[in-house]
Structure formats: structure tokens, C-alpha cells
């Protein structure tokens, strides 16, 4: 029997797909060939290991996060739709609006052309040009914000200082981190109550930075201290604290950062 056919028979037998005739054919092959028996045993062990590997339960907040995001998007669609309907209705009632719209669009195009011909004003010196990832909103100065909470984590060859700064509806989580290669700092927040406005990194580093759904993760790839500024905007009065989890060579350490200033007297 050819190797390929023998392989197929073995896999089908272990998969439970072999017919009684095929099982019998395999039994005869195995009885006659010691090499095939060893191969079959090894393949059986692979099946066994895969079948015994346990199923991991998903995080308990997975569904909640999905449903919250869907709800939020549905609200945005409704708002967008009603805005469009209002404008659409105005245009239908007043045809003169169409001319006003054309005039405004033409003027905007003119301004844009002028800016392109005379040089992009945003490239002038003096404008903020630190490297950062995330959306390109101009971040407010951190110095004007008030520190409302902080936590410091120290571990072998490393330290992470997590601070929450606030001013009006603006929140900034400032993470100053130093640690051995492979250390991971994860900041999780409720995406239903906080929007990410921007993320800045000072100085630019080779660390792996991932901004996910309600989560910022920094995995250390280089020595030295780096600072991350996560600019957040409140979406409503509610909101749970930010969670910080640090996976270092010492193990896992966790903490929280309040997003609301403590009330006077509390």
C-alpha cells in the first residue's frame, strides 16, 4: 500500500470516518508493518492530546462589550439618520438652499486649494510634532489637568506609574513604564463610557503598542522608560475605574485608577 493511502486510512480511522472494510484493511497493514504501527501510535497520541486540550471559557464581559458597542453604533446611526432627514426635508421645502449649499462647497474648495498652493499651514514650525499613534486630534496640555488618582507598581527591574489626570470632560491616563523585555502593561476601560481621543508616546520607542476595543496594551521591547498618554473623553456620567494589569517576570500585578475625583470630605 502506498504511504499516502496508508496515511489516509490512519487519519480516517482515528477521525471515525473509516468504513468497516477500510478498518479491516488498516488492521492488516498494521499487523504486517512495524513502522506503520509506530506511526499509527504517534498519530493516535496527537489525536489524544488535541482531544484532551481543555476548552477555555471566554471572558465574562465579552458579550456585554459586544452588545454595548452594538447599542452605541445603533444610536449613532439613528442620530445621523435624523440629521440627514432634517436637512433633506429643508432642501425639499426650500430649493434655494441647494444654491447656498453649492456656494458653500465652492468656497471650501477654494480655501483648500489656496492652502495647498501656499503650503500646508500644519507643517509650520512650532506646531506639535511628537510622534504618536491613534486618532490625530490635537491633545490638550497635560499640565492644565489635575491628578485625581495614581498607583505605582514596582517589580524586578521595573516600575510602572499609572496616573489619572482630569479636566472638564477630558481624562488622560498617563502611564510611565520601565521594565524588562516582554513585560506587558494592559490598561482596560469601559468603552461604553469612555472614548479614546488620542494616544501619545514619549519618547518614540520600539515597544509593541496595541490600542484595542476598551484596551491599551504595551509590551516592552527595549530598556529605558517610556511614557504613554491615553486621552479619553467621557460619554456619560457613569463609568467604572480603569483597570491596570502588569505581566512581569515576577508575575501578575493588578490595580485600578478612578476616573472621578473623590468628593470633598469623602
Amino acid at each position: 500500500m502506498k504511504d499516502k493511502e496508508l496515511q489516509r486510512l490512519m487519519n480516517d480511522q482515528l477521525d471515525g470516518l473509516a468504513t468497516p472494510e477500510e478498518s479491516e484493511r488498516l488492521r492488516r497493514e498494521l499487523a504486517a508493518d512495524e513502522g506503520a504501527r509506530l506511526e499509527y501510535r504517534n498519530l493516535g497520541a496527537v489525536f489524544d492530546a488535541l482531544n484532551r486540550a481543555e476548552v477555555v471559557e471566554p471572558p465574562p464581559d465579552l458579550k456585554q462589550n459586544v452588545m454595548r458597542a452594538i447599542h452605541h453604533r445603533a444610536e449613532k446611526v439613528l442620530v445621523r439618520k435624523s440629521w440627514r432627514e432634517t436637512v433633506g426635508a429643508a432642501f425639499r421645502k426650500r430649493p434655494a438652499f441647494r444654491y447656498a449649499y453649492s456656494f458653500a462647497a465652492g468656497a471650501a474648495l477654494g480655501v483648500l486649494t489656496f492652502a495647498l498652493l501656499t503650503g500646508n499651514p500644519l507643517t509650520r514650525s512650532g506646531i506639535e510634532s511628537d510622534p504618536f499613534t491613534g486618532t490625530m486630534l490635537p491633545p490638550p496640555g497635560v499640565d492644565q489637568l489635575r491628578r485625581i488618582d495614581s498607583s505605582e507598581f514596582t517589580f524586578q527591574d521595573g516600575r510602572v506609574l499609572a496616573e489619572m489626570l482630569a479636566g472638564g470632560d477630558r481624562l488622560v491616563a498617563r502611564i510611565t513604564a520601565r521594565g524588562p523585555k516582554g513585560t506587558e502593561v494592559a490598561v482596560s476601560f469601559d468603552p461604553g463610557s469612555l472614548n479614546v481621543a488620542a494616544l501619545r508616546q514619549r519618547p518614540a520607542s520600539a515597544n509593541d503598542v496595541t490600542l484595542g476595543f476598551g484596551r491599551l496594551s504595551v509590551r516592552m521591547q527595549q530598556q529605558g522608560e517610556s511614557q504613554y498618554l491615553l486621552y479619553l473623553a467621557r460619554r456619560g456620567p457613569a463609568g467604572s475605574p480603569l483597570r491596570i494589569a502588569i505581566h512581569s517576570p515576577d508575575g501578575l500585578v493588578q490595580g485600578e485608577l478612578e476616573i472621578r475625583a473623590p468628593r470633598p470630605g469623602s
Binding site: 496527537v46 488535541l50 486540550a53 477555555v56 471559557e57 471566554p58 465579552l62 452594538i70 496595541t210 476595543f213
Partner: protein, 181 residues
């Protein structure tokens, strides 16, 4: 083949019933999270990917061809998201510490945990093409026909790829000196 119960849920979702989509999340979150976890090897990334997959499914539900099975479509989104994630990642971790640390405990069966970690490490050594067939067959329990639908490959190719993947996995186990049984 059409699952009438699921078809009813999809119908309600398209009519704007968010609760119906919640039931689909309940139905698939466990298996999708595990597929993603086995693909990327990191619990936090797997969570983000699974959430993204559900959102993408919800947003594109009107484009889903109802003659096909919903889960094949969602698995395909999941596999694509996981592969995109892997291609974005600068390097692959052989084993996610969070998986090991969170499952540890004084009463934990150490042998079982070692096996779990070894299987994950070995999976991460396979190329994504081989890894995905192992995961779909052994962790998502899909048939060859279903895998062929998800991967958009002929059944014969799926089968031969799976056989090779199992053989490679056996080689990795032997090379690492992992006792399987």
C-alpha cells in the same frame, strides 16, 4: 442546510432586535473565543478579535447570503481576523503567560495544565494555514465539508492539509520531548 431556529434569530436581528443578536453571541462566543485563542495564543488578543468579529458580523448581516450557514460565515470572519492579527504582529509568542497564570492554582491538575500549554506551544509552531485546519477540526469540531465552506477550499485539499498538519504536530511533540499519553 438552513437552521430554522437560527434563521429566525437572523430575521429578528435584521429587523433591529438586538436581543436576538445577543442569543447568537451566546451561541457562538465560546467556540469563537477558543478558535481565536488557539490561533493567536493570547487571551487578551483573542477577546479583542472575538468582539471585533461579532461587531463585523452585526454590521454586515444584511450582506450575509442566507442560503449558507451563519456559523460558516462567522468562522470565516474569525479566521480572517485572526490571520490579519498574526500578520500585523511583529513576532509570535510561543505561549501566552496569561493563559498559564490564570489557569494555575493550588488544586490544579499540573499534568493537565502542562499538556494544555504544550499543545498550545506546538500549535504556535505550525504555520497559520496548518494551524487553522487543526483548530477548526479539533477545537471547533467542524466536518470536512464545513471546513471546506469556511476556508473556501476543496474538501480534498482540506483533508490533505489536515493530515500533513497532524503529522507536523506529531513531529513537534516528539522533537520537544513532550509525552502525550
Amino acid at each position: 442546510m438552513v437552521d430554522h431556529d437560527e434563521d429566525g434569530l437572523l430575521e429578528r436581528c435584521l429587523e433591529g432586535d438586538g436581543g436576538a443578536f445577543g442569543q447568537l453571541v451566546d451561541r457562538y462566543q465560546r467556540v469563537l473565543f477558543n478558535v481565536s485563542l488557539r490561533m493567536v495564543g493570547n487571551r487578551e488578543d483573542a477577546r479583542d478579535i472575538t468582539q471585533t468579529v461579532f461587531l463585523k458580523a452585526y454590521e454586515n448581516l444584511d450582506k450575509f447570503d442566507r442560503r449558507h450557514r451563519f456559523f460558516s460565515w462567522v468562522y470565516r470572519i474569525m479566521i480572517n481576523e485572526s490571520l490579519n492579527h498574526l500578520s500585523r504582529a511583529r513576532r509570535m509568542e510561543p505561549l501566552d503567560e496569561t493563559m498559564a497564570s490564570e489557569e494555575g492554582g493550588p488544586d490544579e491538575d499540573c499534568a493537565r495544565r502542562r499538556l494544555h500549554d504544550s499543545v498550545q506551544s506546538a500549535l504556535m509552531e505550525l504555520s497559520p494555514d496548518y494551524r487553522q485546519v487543526i483548530i477548526l477540526r479539533h477545537f471547533a469540531q467542524l466536518s470536512y465539508q464545513e471546513m471546506s465552506g469556511v476556508l473556501e477550499l476543496p474538501e480534498k485539499t482540506v483533508k490533505s492539509r489536515l493530515h500533513t498538519a497532524r503529522q507536523l504536530l506529531g513531529g513537534i511533540f516528539s522533537k520537544s520531548g513532550i509525552a502525550l499519553s
